[in-house]
């Protein structure tokens, strides 16, 4: 039964592991893109400018209220068109096709960005006002204030939330298999189709996802401990 997972040209073992690697890569790049989007939109939500607030709120409402699959279809079918449209404005008239990895990263990044926005906004809000005032009193501004004083505190508070966003992002990447990116989901579909053994390949995929989840939990716990040094430990959770 397990010879189908052998390595090399006769089995699917190495292909499945490559699929797992692709899942991790696309999840990680989507998470990073999402955090970037999250920082920008959290800044918009926290700003006093009405129009920025509206834009940020519309974005998070749409992403949280519309199925991920629809967002992925929009970018999969419309992504290249949008890029070509923008390129045309800048005078480039050729055909541009985005690869599945780029589209997948943009799509899942846009989804995870909405969740990251809320996490980061909450974290910035929970930094005590006195920290801002104390920083200003010390003559800090710009990078000095936000980079050296506020960011480390926001990072510490946001980390558990980002850990949750990572879990969601990891699972959302399964959806981009419908666009053809060969990650765990797609690879197990291909393998199941060619060997007529869907049960064991989907079981293998389940195990791979659980392993990735478990390992990333351990990593996030470590990071939380590192960032929480000097704070009261959360006890026997």
């Amino acid at each position: 039964m397990f010879e189908v997972f052998s390595f090399g040209s006769s089995g699917w073992g190495d292909e499945m592991l490559m699929g797992a690697l692709m899942t991790v890569l696309v999840s990680a790049s989507s998470l990073l893109l999402g955090i970037l989007i999250g920082i920008i939109f959290a800044a918009c939500k926290l700003s006093n400018i009405f129009i920025l607030k509206i834009i940020a709120n519309t974005y998070t409402t749409i992403i949280r209220g519309i199925p991920e699959l629809l967002v992925i279809y929009l970018l999969f079918f419309g992504g290249s068109g949008a890029v070509m449209y923008i390129a045309k404005i800048f005078g480039y008239d050729g055909y541009i096709e985005l690869n599945a990895f780029t589209i997948g990263t943009i799509a899942v990044g846009a989804i995870s960005g909405a969740y990251s926005t809320e996490v980061i906004r909450g974290a910035v809000n929970s930094v005590h006002k006195g920290q801002f005032e104390a920083g200003k009193t010390l003559g800090l501004n710009g990078y000095g204030l936000y980079g050296r004083v506020i960011f480390p505190q926001v990072a510490r508070i946001a980390l558990p939330g980002i850990g949750n966003v990572w879990q969601i992002t990891l699972k959302d990447t399964a959806l981009i298999s419908v666009t053809g990116l060969v990650e765990i989901m797609r690879q197990s579909r291909i393998a199941a189709g060619s060997t007529h053994e869907p049960f064991i390949f989907y079981t293998a995929a389940i195990i791979l996802y659980l392993v990735i989840t478990r390992l990333s939990n351990i990593l996030f716990d470590k990071a939380e401990n590192t960032y929480s040094k000097g704070f009261v430990s959360k006890g026997a959770l």
């Binding site: 279809y73 989901m185 199941a192 049960f199 989907y202």
Partner: protein, 227 residues
């Protein structure tokens, strides 16, 4: 923007609403029953009950819904003993596979919500009802359950929205609900933005109604202080 196309596709896409709502409501009801069982198993204090419940929740929350759907729809059908069993008329239908998968998924997620709700019921209430002479079952039905419902309602509202969103996945196993119809129109007309706006608005309206309904229920039931 092709407004005429949006107008035409709107009437095609709304034909998918009944299927979406049907699948969501059936699996929500079944899933709630499953969630209560799993939550009670987890807080039972017996290891033989709480450990399987813990791993069930862990397994479902740690894997993508799409994979679970493929597992039920394609994976189980591989075995001849399943194909010969009395369950096969159900398991060969994508409709029932979708409902089974969504039921299991929402069962796992909601069991955590319900568990949190039950645990938030103060011990004082339980002791007080014991002092009044109520037995365990009466205490659960008359004291714990009503408080749990109120405590868990906001989080459960979120779960309902997640269910509406999750139901879009059943379009991948050939069911023509909102997303399935939208996808078909996109691949025919190649107008992703227009169709996305139409189908997306329909989902937003459904979810908005859920938010309003849950908010109404919350106000009607009132809130209790947990302690």
């Amino acid at each position: 923007m092709r407004f005429e196309l949006m107008y035409e596709s709107f009437f095609k896409i709304i034909e998918g609403i009944p299927l979406t709502l049907q699948v969501v409501s059936i699996s929500t009801v079944l899933g709630l029953a499953l969630a209560i069982i799993v939550a009670l198993m987890r807080i039972s204090g017996k290891k033989s009950m709480s450990i399987p419940a813990y791993y069930f929740v862990y397994l479902i929350r740690g894997t993508p819904l799409l994979l679970q759907l493929y597992f039920v729809y394609y994976g189980l059908g591989q075995f001849s003993f399943i194909r010969d069993s009395i369950l096969w008329p159900i398991l060969k239908e994508p409709y029932w596979c979708g409902i089974i998968t969504l039921t299991i998924s929402t069962g796992a997620y909601s069991s955590e919500i319900i568990r949190g709700g039950i645990l938030s019921v103060s011990k004082n209430f339980i002791e007080a009802s014991g002092a009044l002479g109520l037995n365990k079952i009466k205490t659960f039905l008359l004291i714990t359950l009503p408080i749990t419902v109120r405590q868990a309602l906001p989080a459960y509202g979120n779960e309902l929205i997640l269910m509406v969103k999750a139901s879009s996945l059943i379009s991948i196993i050939t069911l023509m609900e909102i997303t399935g119809i939208a996808r078909t129109i996109i691949s025919k007309t190649y107008a992703p933005v227009e169709i996305f706006l139409v189908a997306g608005s329909i989902y937003l309206i459904i979810n908005f109604i859920i938010v309003l309904a849950v908010g109404l229920a919350e106000r009607k039931l009132g809130t209790v202080k947990a302690n």
